[in-house]
Point group: C2
Chain length 233, copies 2
Amino acid sequence: MALIGVLGGMGPLATVDFMQRVMQLTRARCDQEHLSMIVANLTHTPDRSRAIVAGGVDPLPALLDGIDLLNRCGAGVIVIPCNSAHHWYAQMAERSAAPILHIVDASVAAVPAGVRRVAVLATGGALVSGFYQASLRSRGIEPVMPAAAAQRDIAACIEAVKATRIEAAAGHLSRALATLERRKVSVAVMGCTEIPIAARALRNARVMLIDSTQELARATVAYAVERGWGRAM
Amino acid sequence: MALIGVLGGMGPLATVDFMQRVMQLTRARCDQEHLSMIVANLTHTPDRSRAIVAGGVDPLPALLDGIDLLNRCGAGVIVIPCNSAHHWYAQMAERSAAPILHIVDASVAAVPAGVRRVAVLATGGALVSGFYQASLRSRGIEPVMPAAAAQRDIAACIEAVKATRIEAAAGHLSRALATLERRKVSVAVMGCTEIPIAARALRNARVMLIDSTQELARATVAYAVERGWGRAM
């Protein structure tokens, strides 16, 4: 029996959102046709963005403990529905016997061909780390950073989702997207797994939003289906 | 760090529903104030109801494997958001070092004082096992069983949720509830964790529905709060 390992709790709502996407992307008529997972919903993991930006408590020991736990449970592949945690991707991949799918690779691969500018909606930590910018540039795409006020709205959106205040989060996201529209940006990657939860509460969005949670879920189901663990929709 | 162990995947949508209820019932402003969980979403566990009713493959070995896994991961308490699996509660509780909260106890405790008749909406297996009927009777409450046609609708509702067909599930549930209304039943316990997912898609329900997923989530958060693992809303 093959188990998908999910290193989660960063935040917890994003983890359940990810699990739900995997279920929706799986062609299953009964429980036994769904994919089995072991989910370490480790909410106590220190804040990733704060550690990168402000030298807060290092989350790497907690991340590696989670990787060890999932490997001990027999995970055949590991996914991490938290973009900022991918700042430590190399250290986690080195530690893990099971391969770790990369959320940024999955998300950037979903940018439609021909798109030349993509805004990056992410935590301050992820922007400072720069993995989205590097991945976009490697494909000839110009990363567009939100201006300071818009970035404050993105940060507030993420914080509100983590506190289960979804309507407030959608308001912040809506304001940030309006500034991108005025800058003629038509595609943005939601490079933080809290943002798609807020985006679902938006009335309308004229910016095309690439959803890192959904793309990681697609990559996970594709990985599982290739190995005969389940069937895709 | 205290971990809540969730033996899930029965079905997987019910497991994410349970996790989400725990998050909503927790007073958290950031990830670190949410409760950490280890979730064994073991969808391959053989069908519980079929095993009870029709002598299908015994799920007990898979259930005990899940209990062992959660104990090895250091779970301080275990919950199982599947009512039918509680047919094997005694065997699981005997095997587990961590205490296992009982979903039926939590649900029956939520019946308002003075209510004398409660319908049981559950799998055929759970009804044959009889744990809801016994628990209700021990509190002086008469359990009301759905008639054969209504029970077929309940079974179809559960099956549709497991296949992620929520609208179809709500239709079946609505028909079953209409027959209970005609029988002057005003309170029903949703004693299968798929049913609340269908109930959320109902336009209106004139029967008061006690939600086993929500009651187990409440009991879980209360257990955690009493031990200082987190704070309740």
